[in-house]
Symmetry: D2
Subunit: 368 residues, 4 copies
């Protein structure tokens, strides 16, 4: 039983997806996407999203995000996103690289969800500076967010409405799109293009695939020359059938939704288990498959000592997210492969640590 | 008498500098810097800074800043600067362009001056994210700052000490370096390399030149291949003698310090005149040649109607600078060419407007 | 029996490599390379090359080449390579993208192998132009070459000696390195760092892997910050164990050499079979797993009609490779998965076509 | 009397242009182009070209060329130009930098003028490689060419017709446009947009200005966002009035044509004088203000010893321009400021050298 809650990318590959990879390994096939699996993916993706789409498989989320943004934004452009967006903090400047130097403008929001008015204000300020400032060029939403929350359909629509008015296309970083989707309970169409999303970075790797990400354009005209961008970034695979086969298995029979549903349920169970404990505070509503909480330092240390894997989460020193509860902030991530037993194991361990602390007269809330 | 306080770049060229340009216009000369004026500038700059320097004339501040940073920072690097730094907000992404995609990390500070601890904290946070985050690579200070304040020598030294410990070179954006220098009253050496500055973008255009900026390396070894960077950015002039001649005249007989001293004195006079007026609040200590103040909206509008030129200054909606006094924030800039009469003219006009307002029962502080 | 000779990337995955992928799919593992497979690869690669190396797995050859070059070359640099080098013609400008704009200088050579004197001359010409020209910064050799030939060890050494004298590091594009190595019959060490190669792009995908390429630095000091370059290009996999597992299986028991040996033998058999036919001319010595030949247009068309897959190969209109024999130039590629029966099938088909042509009084050599 | 024939950029500034700079130095003026001179330039440029144009003053030819190309070409694009084009060999990779990595495809042509069929062939080859190759995106012609020749109006039109058919915009590098124009004897309109040129880099610096280059768009719609490109490259001057004033003086009363006519006449005189001498061979028809010739090594050395300034010109080792006459190739450039006496002085010196050589039994044509 794994004690690794570090990320949903530490997991193995879903059996059905691995089976599909093996099944694709027969005979020769056209390279660079001229194969039957990739061909089939195009029509399957259309079914999934309820509209014709242009879908380009790649193999990392950073590639999907950066390629997507490079298609939307000129080198002198600005991308508006949450200040903690993955594209802004965890991709080592990939968006700047792929766009040729565009700037990410981070907007603060304690729940990870930017607000329409923030976008409008930030763009207005930029336009006031005219030619001396980068040109507002796109907005990027992370769904589910970096804080494990989920934009509702009306929330996405409201931001997209402002964006449309300002002439900005809307990008969605959907590294955990399936987790958001099962939370929302709506169709993939409603969660994306019907809400105003123009381009989606769709991830499967965190939800059971080996290496399957994709850029999905809801207006194929926006994908002009995208193939060359993918190629020159080294992201056009010669044996692309093996990525497309993963996608087909991922969508087949709703595997993607089943996997995400399970991951979300495990996060909910984890949150329920933890929030009853002394000295534990949930930092965010748990809507997808991530739990952010503060725990007493001693508890955190004890869990680490017992081999539980998770990240101590850096809380920004300035800005809006700063007034968090006492203790050490950590992030726990569940996945399709997380068992209920593993969740209970962690909760029980945290409880035992807390009891020991109180037994020793430790005032948990005083722990810095 | 000019009513234009918009910027120190609306001014004409100092007589001595224009004379030098005319004097340089004799016969043929080696192109691309192989001329006598440029040769002479190298030794004169050494005298000015009290050490051997590598100086590269260019013709805009944006070029000087961006070329300097591109020499210090890899494409996957981070530059720490004030959140309102010119490089971050007013150069249309030039640093990102020249560095190949490096990221500027803006640090808030109400007086425009970043603090050593902020730098240390921000770098520590970045390093925690490891390979997923851009690599801390340089710090950039604006001297005088965007808010018209001046880092003291100990302030620069303290930041540079932290930077050195972290392995980061220190860049100084000296678009208004002369204004800062006469405020400090120290030598150019003390204000730069003796305080830990590695590379200086030195500006003359705002202080009387036609088009004279320069990148100054205090360690010539840092300038390796810089010539090619300047060339490929289109900033190597064929008739460079005409830029170098400006620099020689600028330094000659202390013209640069005289010009800056006058500009600063005019700003001080303007501040003194305004701060006595009802409803006027200075936003910053006036240490160089810029005055930031809030005035009643009606006064601002009246001044504009009378042909006074200045910028209504956007105040950030979030962040540390937000709790400013009521009224409209404006920026007034003086220069070597600003006359005391022009300053008195503006103050008198503001006073008249204020009196009229009060006469009409207007509560100036209520103006939004 | 496959009639597809288009490329060695149309093949399926070697059984042993697919087995290794399946075997790696157990339990959680550290992401981004913090896993046991990747750890083990580091020491195995050292054994293979007979020296400590820094090896970075990626998943496309374009990524390996471009990342390697970006580590060696500044944005204002020049890379010297063969005019038909994959990096110059088949990667959609990836090297320019990753290096931030460096220039590839293509040198002509009819057999695909640049000569030491060409390099010396080209660099001398560049240096004469000084700051106005890109700076000579690296040389890149393709091994095996784009023309299916192989640089001998002394040939590599001679170029590397010139490069070292000029201060240029040597990159080797080893997309088909194993094919070259078994032809040379020397050790991997002799074929690379002992001959003066500094960085190797090592490919396995064309030789039996699913998606395994790597950048190998023979001097780990050259790899400084390379991790960040890989990350920001979107080429750092979260589930990297699945790439490293391919590499381990590839090297294990000499699979890589066995696969390459077979591919080369099939190309040799193909060449022998074709060169006896009327109207067929081999364009290059067959030293690896590619055959370039001219055939009568009617034969080529007939083979295409019978479902044989290969590329009609564009011959440069100008330059040194232009005086090729009459007919249509085609490229045939063999692989680890090519059967002798498939080779005989193609040769027999070509022979039949030729006989029919002669029977019909067609003068094969007149076909344009 | 100057013996400097190195370039037309070693010259001083035309009196009328320097006078205009001085005259512009009065009072304050709007910065960044919001001044009367720049305003006026817009309408004057329209008059000069006989159509509405968008004109953007910059101060180096490299900036003008690279900014223009960056507007026309995506990062994954190809620019077709002569193999010796200034953009390809003398701008240190600036086009690659500004475009974000586009590739220049150099086409050979002994007279410096590419042919329509060459363009068509090169594009066809590129398209055959599809997504693996950079996308044909623009053609760039140098007028007058790097070899001192001039494309006729029909020649430009024929290339532009091919380009239009292929969907490629046409850029003209007009660093010596005035010299070409007076040779052609047609209108500026006929030489540019009426022949199919879309964007012109127009130079004045080599023809009497201090620092005046410009990008001219004949279809203002093509200039979208160009202002931001100029800004972020550091090429938007704050005191732009001083560049625009040069342009106004340059066009005023036909100064530009007078200057160019004189420069061309001096080159013609030089060519006439030299071609009569023993051992001297003109390498190109002299149509603008440059003379390329081979002279005996001893003559060249003697001229250098006497203080004459010119470049020994590197002749390509491979390619079409290689079969030049014996001797040393040199380039001599005349300008608006070259006197007939200076030309006669050089010719006389060359003649004396030659006589001395023959007197000494030297076989001039044997000199390598």
């Amino acid at each position: 039983m794994s004690r690794n809650f570090k990320s949903d990318n530490v997991t193995p590959v879903s059996d059905a997806i691995m089976a599909a990879i093996n099944a694709a390994n027969v005979g020769t096939a056209g390279s660079y996407g001229a194969d039957e699996h990739t061909e089939r993916l195009r029509s399957v993706a259309g079914d999934i999203f309820g509209t014709e789409v242009s879908i380009y498989p790649v193999t990392t989320g950073t590639a999907a995000n950066s390629l997507a943004l490079s298609q939307l934004v000129p080198p002198y452009g600005a991308v508006y996103c949450h200040e903690a967006a993955h594209i802004a903090t965890d991709e080592c400047g990939a968006p700047e690289f792929f766009t040729g130097g565009a700037k990410l403008i981070g907007l603060p929001a304690p729940d990870g969800k930017i607000r329409p008015q923030q976008l409008a204000d930030a763009v207005a300020l930029a336009l006031e500076l005219g030619v001396h400032h980068v040109k507002p060029a796109a907005v990027s939403l992370t769904q589910a967010t970096e804080w494990g929350t989920v934009y509702s359909v009306p929330e996405v629509s409201a931001i997209a409405a402002v964006a449309r008015q300002l002439g900005l296309p809307v990008h969605m970083d959907g590294a955990r799109f399936a987790n958001a989707l099962v939370h929302l309970g709506c169709s993939a169409a409603e969660a994306t293009w019907k809400s105003g999303v123009d381009v989606l970075s769709l991830g499967a790797t965190k939800n059971g695939a080996l290496c399957a990400e994709a850029v999905v354009f809801f207006d194929p005209a926006r994908a002009k020359d995208f193939e060359r961008r993918r190629k020159r970034a080294g992201h056009l695979w010669s044996k692309l059938r093996f990525v497309s086969a993963q996608w087909l298995a991922y969508f087949d029979g709703g595997l993607w939704l089943d996997n995400a549903r399970h991951a979300n349920a495990m996060a909910a169970a984890l949150a329920r288990g933890l929030q009853g404990l002394d000295g534990v505070h949930l930092l965010q509503t748990v809507e997808a498959n991530e739990v952010f909480a503060t725990l007493p330092e001693a508890t955190v240390a004890a869990l680490e000592a017992q081999g539980f894997g998770f990240y101590r989460w850096p809380m920004p020193a300035n800005g809006s997210s700063s007034t968090h509860p006492p203790g050490v902030a950590i992030r726990l991530v569940t996945s399709y492969a997380t068992s209920l037993a593993a969740v209970q194991d962690l909760v029980a361990a945290a409880e035992r640590c807390g009891q020991r602390l109180r037994g020793s007269g430790h005032d948990t809330d005083r722990v810095p």
